[in-house]
Amino acid sequence: MMKSSIIKTGTLFVDRGLMPFLFLLLTFSFVSSAQIVPVLTFDVFQKHLQPANDNDTVYVINFWATWCKPCVEELPAFEKLNETYANQKVKVLLVSIDFRSQYEKQVVPFVQKNKLKSQVMLMDAQGDNDFIDKVNPAWQGTIPATTVIQASSKTNKFYEKQFTFEELENIIQPLIKK
């Protein structure tokens, strides 16, 4: 049972060399219930930017890094959003752009220490310098950056700023289907 779940989760990982580590993490996760942070290439991640046309879920996708002070400061706002709208069609994704080499050292410990509940993933965009434009041509390349997507209303907003919970709420509330 455990083995099969490892393989299933393992498909999320780009780097198969992570498997032993994932095994440890998974074992650990049964104890601490900390979430597993997948590592995605940009191509795989990009699917999150392109929900199906009739999908009315509001995706709030935040780009951050453990070293980025304003990003870390605004994470509680996203966590609160995730918690407040848990029963509605709102999905918060926290996309770390820390370097792949910092995954074990920085990202996973950070997610565990801060008990992040929103879905966290590490995007390894090394070698794809177009990814900034692919996320949004308006992105200058600084973080924090956040994109709000709702395919059904053709909403695709992009912000290169630090958010408060209230500001986030003001953006998503008109989009939520009553």
């Binding site: 070293w67 080499s101 177009d130 996320v135 600084t142």
Partner: protein, 221 residues
Amino acid sequence: MRLIKSTLSFLTVIVVALFSFGFINHARTPLSFGEGARVRQPGYNVGDYAADFKLKNIDDKMVSLADYTEAIGFVVVFTCNHCPYAKLYEDRLVALDKVSKKKGYPVIAINPNDAASHPEDSFDNMKKRAKDKGFTFPYLVDETQEVAQAFGAAKTPHVYLLQKEEGKLKVVYIGAIDDDTENTKKDKVKYVENAIDAVEKGEKPNPDFTKAVGCTIKWKS
């Protein structure tokens, strides 16, 4: 005449500041997902002419581009001490200067960050950092942040390759130093060096505009 000129440049700074403020802080809705269309950037774009500046170097002397009568152009790079991405590029900036200076394009580093909010970026720390890292190029402080605003610099590191053209400074490349921030690839694409090579041959750099992740410039509030 002088008054008119300074009034004009002051107005330009205000306009640029308002423009960039608007651009950075307001949401824009692109036409479609993932479309890589070029958006007009605040400040200088490729093909624009850059204004010269006069800023204090870490040796306490004032530096302006006009001082470099022999130069063919400049690698102007907005950088700082504290940003992890800027740090990763320090050694590569020294290496780049070695190559580019010989070709007539000296590196001019500018720290635009507000040292009040980021003490690591103070003038004294700039001096220390330059000494520790053996900077071979001027490391200037943009205390009023007017130069960074005029250029439209958004982050550190952020490079503007300038080429002298009939006494003016034409912007020929804007963006990243290379395509390998973490410095792990053997076959990295050295954007700035390639751009210099292209300009030397009388060609247009390809690409002449790249984007890489960097740290936001810490503007004074």
